[in-house]
C-alpha cells in the first residue's frame, strides 16, 4: 500500500540526508529481527509468570487437592490465590513490563543514534 511507504518517510527536513542514510541502516533485515527479538524476549519472559500460574493452578487443584484446600481465615488456599492474590501479581507484572519495555525502546533509539554518529 502506497500510503504506508510515504508514512514511513521520516518527518522533519533539516537533517534529511542524515536520516536517509540512517533509514537504510535500520531498514535492514538484521536490525528488524534484533528489535523484534529483544521485545519478544521481554514479553515472553514476563508472560512465563502467567503460564506458570494459569497452567499450574488447575493442575494443583486437580492432583494436590489437599494443598488447594488448606484453610486460611476460612478461605481455601486456592480461592485466596485466584480470587484475591492474582490481581496484585498482574499489577506487578504489568509494572515491570512497562518500565522495562520503555527502557528497552530508549536503549534501541540511543544505539541507532550512536551508529549514525559514526
Amino acid at each position: 500500500m502506497a500510503k504506508i511507504e510515504t508514512a514511513l518517510r521520516p518527518m522533519g527536513s533539516t537533517q534529511e540526508d542524515q536520516k536517509a542514510s540512517l533509514l537504510t541502516g535500520i531498514h535492514s533485515e538484521q536490525y528488524l529481527k534484533l528489535i523484534m527479538y529483544r521485545q519478544l524476549r521481554l514479553s515472553l519472559a514476563l508472560f512465563g509468570v502467567f503460564v506458570i500460574i494459569l497452567a499450574g493452578l488447575p493442575l494443583v487443584n486437580y492432583y494436590l487437592p489437599m494443598v488447594a484446600t488448606i484453610r486460611i481465615y476460612g478461605f481455601t488456599l486456592s480461592w485466596l490465590v485466584l480470587g484475591v492474590l492474582f490481581y496484585p501479581v498482574t499489577w506487578a507484572v504489568a509494572y515491570i513490563y512497562v518500565k522495562r519495555s520503555l527502557e528497552l525502546e530508549h536503549r534501541i533509539a540511543q544505539e541507532v543514534a550512536q551508529s549514525k554518529g559514526r
Partner: protein, 675 residues
C-alpha cells in the same frame, strides 16, 4: 414485586440523564472525523484507562460475575481473573505495536498490514458479528434490570437504553463516549464497592462468611436454607422451569402444576429406571397424561393448588430429583411455596461450591479440559475484542498505549476483587435466588437484591444502596453498548462507506455517514436485543469471546510477530477458526433448545465432545493458528512485498520518528477542541 422501586428508579434516571447530558456537553467540541473515531488521538492516560475499563466492565461483569460466583462458587472465579489477565496478554504482545501502526479500526489494520482491500471486507464482517453478538447480552441485561425496578415488560428496557446510547454515539462519536465512559468507570467502581463495605459493617466480613460456609459443611448442613417462607414463580421456559431438588425437600404448589419427574443425573442405560413413586415419596396425584416434549414422550403429573410434595427419601439412594414444571391451564407461571428452613433447590453443596471442579467445570466429567479451554477462550478473546482494541488508537502514541494498558489492569483488578465478595455474601444471605435459574430474579440479580437486606437495619438504606447498584448496572450496559456501537458504526461508516463505497467523501458526508450508521447499528441492536429474552447472558458473552479468540486474536498475534504471514494465510485462518468456533457454539445451542433431537442425544452420550463444543477455544485457536501457518507457507507470493517496512513500523521505538499516522485526513485541518 408488583410496585415501582422508587429509590432505584431515581438513581437510574440520574445516571441515564447524566449520560445524555455529558454526551451533549462534549458533542459541542466535535469538529473532525478523527474526533468521532479516535477522539483526535488526544485522550490522556488517566482518562483513556478509565474509559477502557469503563467500556470493558459490562453488564456481564457487573451483575453476571457476582451471580455466577454465587451460583457455582470457585470455578466462576476464573472469569474475573481471566478478564483481567486477558488485558495483560494484550499489553505484553499486541497493544503498542498496534498503536504504532496507526489506523482507525481493526479492518484498517488488516488492510494496511496485508495491502489487501479484500481482507478489509472479511475483517469488517467479523467486527459486525462479534459486535452484534456482544450487544445482545447487554440489551438483555438492560431489559432484565428494568423488570426489577419498574416492573415493565422486558422490551421497554431494551428500547430505552438503546435509544439513549444510539443518540449519544450519533452526536458525540468516540470523543463524546470517551468522557462518558471514564465517568462511568468510577460510577461502577463506586457502585460495586460502597454497598459491600456498608453491608460488611452490618453483616460481617468476607473471611467470616467464607468461614461460615466452611463450618456449616462440617456440622452437616451442607446446603443453604430459606430464611423465611418464600413463594417462587416459575415461567414455563427452559431452564427456568427445571428445578433440581436435593433428597428430602418438602414444598407446596401454590397454584397447581403439571410436572415431569426425573432423576437429576441421567441414569445409565443398563440401570433400572427409578420409578416416579420413589422420586416423589409424598404420593403422586391420580391425574396424569402423556405429552411429547422436545421429541420425547413424557408423563406429566397434574398437582392441584395447595398440594404439598416431598422428594426422594435421603436414605433410599435415589439422590437429587429434577422436576420440570408447567403451569396449569389459565395460569402464567407455577408458584411453589417453600417454608422457612427448607433447603433451597438448585444450590450446590458447600464443599462443591468452595472447592475447585464443582458444578460448573465438572458438569461433563472432564474438568481439566473444560478449565483449560475456558482459560484460553477468555485470555485470547479479550485480546481479540474489536471494540477494546480500537480504544488503543485513541492514545497519542505507543508509549502512552502501554501506560494506558498498565492502568487498565490496575483499575480492572480493583473492580474484580469485589464480585467474589458479593457472590459469597449472597450465598449466605439471599439463598432464595438459587431457587430459580435464569430470568430477572435468579442469582444474576444478587447485586440488586442483596443490599435490600439493610432495610431491616436502617429504613431506606437498603433501597438506596440497591439504587446505587442499579445505577452501576445501567452504567455497565450503557458503556459497553456505546463502545460496541462505535465500533459497529466505525465498520459501517468508515470501513464500508468511507473506504469502499465513497472513498472521496467530504468531511461533511463522512460526518453524516457516521450519524446514519450509528442509527442503523443502534436500531439493529435494539431489534436483536428484544429477541434474546430467553437466552442466558453468560452464554451470549461466551459466544462473543470464543468467536473473537478464534478469529481476530490469531490474525493479530501472527501479523504483529511473524513477518512471513501471507494475506491468504491470515484470512483463511481467521475465517476458518472463527466459523468453526461459531458452528460449535451454535450446535450446543441447538442441542440445548432441543431443536435437533439427534444432536441432543449425541452430546448427552459423548460428554467429551460436548465439552469441546461448549468451550471451543482449546481446539479452535490452535486450528486458526495452524491454518495461518500452513496456508502462509503454501502461498509465499501472498506475503506483502513491503512486509519488512510494516514490521518495522510495528516494532521500531517511536523515538526514531519513523511513524506517522496511517490515515490523516481532516485530523489536522481543524484545531482540536477542549479535552
Amino acid at each position: 414485586m408488583t410496585s415501582i422501586a422508587w429509590i432505584p428508579l431515581i438513581c437510574v434516571t440520574f445516571i441515564v440523564l447524566g449520560t445524555i447530558g455529558l454526551g451533549f456537553y462534549v458533542q459541542r467540541s466535535v469538529r473532525s472525523t478523527a474526533d468521532l473515531y479516535v477522539a483526535s488521538r488526544s485522550v490522556s492516560v488517566p482518562m483513556n484507562s478509565a474509559a477502557i475499563s469503563g467500556e470493558y466492565l459490562s453488564a456481564a461483569s457487573f451483575m453476571g460475575v457476582a451471580g455466577m460466583i454465587m451460583k457455582f462458587g470457585y470455578d466462576a472465579l476464573w472469569y474475573p481473573a481471566l478478564y483481567a489477565a486477558g488485558y495483560l496478554f494484550l499489553l505484553l504482545f499486541i497493544a503498542s505495536p498496534l498503536r504504532r501502526f496507526g489506523a482507525y479500526t481493526i479492518p484498517d489494520f488488516a488492510e494496511g498490514r496485508f495491502s489487501s482491500p479484500v481482507f478489509r471486507k472479511i475483517a469488517v464482517v467479523f467486527v459486525l458479528i462479534i459486535g452484534f453478538f456482544y450487544t445482545m447480552p447487554q440489551m438483555k441485561g438492560a431489559g432484565v434490570a428494568l423488570v426489577n425496578i419498574l416492573n415493565t415488560p422486558y422490551w421497554v428496557g431494551v428500547v430505552l437504553v438503546g435509544i439513549v446510547i444510539t443518540l449519544n454515539v450519533a452526536l458525540g462519536g468516540m470523543k463524546g463516549i470517551t468522557f462518558v465512559q471514564a465517568f462511568q468507570y468510577w460510577v461502577k467502581m463506586f457502585a460495586i464497592s460502597l454497598p459491600i463495605f456498608i453491608l460488611i459493617s452490618v453483616v460481617g466480613g468476607y473471611p467470616g462468611h467464607m468461614n461460615e460456609i466452611a463450618k456449616s459443611d462440617e456440622i452437616g448442613k451442607p446446603l443453604p436454607t430459606f430464611k423465611e417462607d418464600t413463594t417462587v414463580f416459575y415461567k414455563p421456559l427452559a431452564p427456568t422451569n427445571e428445578i433440581t431438588f436435593p433428597a428430602g425437600v418438602t414444598a407446596t404448589f401454590g397454584n397447581g402444576a403439571e410436572v415431569v419427574v426425573a432423576t437429576a443425573k441421567p441414569t445409565k442405560k443398563e440401570a433400572v429406571p427409578v420409578s416416579a413413586e420413589n422420586m416423589i415419596i409424598s404420593g403422586l396425584p391420580d391425574e396424569k397424561y402423556s405429552r411429547e416434549l422436545a421429541g420425547k414422550a413424557q408423563t406429566l403429573y397434574r398437582f392441584s393448588a395447595g398440594d404439598t410434595f416431598t422428594v426422594s427419601d435421603p436414605l433410599a439412594g435415589v439422590g437429587s430429583v429434577k422436576l420440570t414444571v408447567f403451569p396449569v391451564a389459565g395460569q402464567e407461571s407455577v408458584e411453589i411455596v417453600y417454608p422457612k428452613g427448607a433447603v433451597v433447590p438448585n444450590a450446590p453443596m458447600n464443599k462443591a461450591w468452595m472447592e475447585p471442579y464443582g458444578p460448573f467445570t465438572n458438569k461433563y466429567g472432564h474438568p481439566l479440559l473444560y478449565t483449560y479451554s475456558l482459560i484460553l477462550a477468555l485470555i485470547c478473546g479479550t485480546a481479540g475484542l474489536p471494540h477494546i482494541l480500537v480504544r488503543f488508537y485513541t492514545n497519542p502514541d505507543g508509549r502512552t498505549a502501554k501506560r494506558t494498558a498498565f492502568w487498565v489492569i490496575i483499575l480492572l483488578g480493583c473492580f474484580y476483587l469485589f464480585p467474589p465478595i458479593w457472590g459469597t455474601l449472597g450465598r449466605n444471605l439471599v439463598p432464595h435466588l438459587y431457587a430459580v435459574t435464569g430470568g430477572a430474579f435468579s442469582t444474576d440479580s444478587v447485586v440488586l437484591t442483596l443490599p435490600r437486606l439493610l432495610n431491616n437495619t436502617v429504613p431506606y438504606l437498603g433501597d438506596l444502596l440497591s439504587g446505587i447498584t442499579s445505577a452501576g448496572a445501567f452504567a455497565g450496559f450503557m458503556t459497553t453498548f456505546s463502545g460496541l456501537l462505535v465500533s459497529i458504526t466505525g465498520a459501517l461508516a468508515h470501513d464500508i462507506y468511507g473506504s469502499m463505497i465513497n472513498p472521496k467523501a467530504s468531511y461533511k458526508q463522512r460526518l453524516n455517514a457516521f450519524r446514519i450508521a450509528a442509527v442503523v447499528g443502534g436500531v439493529t441492536a435494539i431489534v436483536l436485543g428484544t429477541l434474546v429474552e430467553n437466552f442466558d447472558i453468560n452464554m451470549m458473552v461466551g459466544w462473543a469471546f470464543a468467536i473473537a479468540a478464534a478469529s481476530y486474536f490469531p490474525m493479530l498475534i501472527v501479523s504483529v510477530w511473524w513477518r512471513g504471514t501471507s494475506m491468504m494465510g491470515a484470512a483463511i485462518g481467521m475465517l476458518g477458526g472463527g466459523t468453526a468456533a461459531l458452528a460449535a457454539i451454535v450446535s450446543v445451542m441447538l442441542a440445548d433448545k432441543m431443536a435437533i433431537p439427534a444432536l441432543s442425544v449425541y452430546y448427552a452420550a459423548h460428554p467429551v465432545m460436548r465439552s469441546l463444543a461448549e468451550q471451543p477455544a482449546i481446539w479452535a485457536v490452535p486450528l486458526a493458528l495452524l491454518l495461518i501457518f500452513v496456508v502462509s507457507l503454501l502461498t509465499p507470493s501472498g506475503v506483502p512485498k513491503d512486509a519488512s517496512y510494516k514490521m518495522l513500523v510495528l516494532h521500531a521505538p517511536e523515538e526514531l520518528n519513523l511513524r506517522e499516522e496511517y490515515i490523516k485526513e481532516n485530523s489536522r485541518q481543524t484545531p482540536v477542541g477542549v479535552h
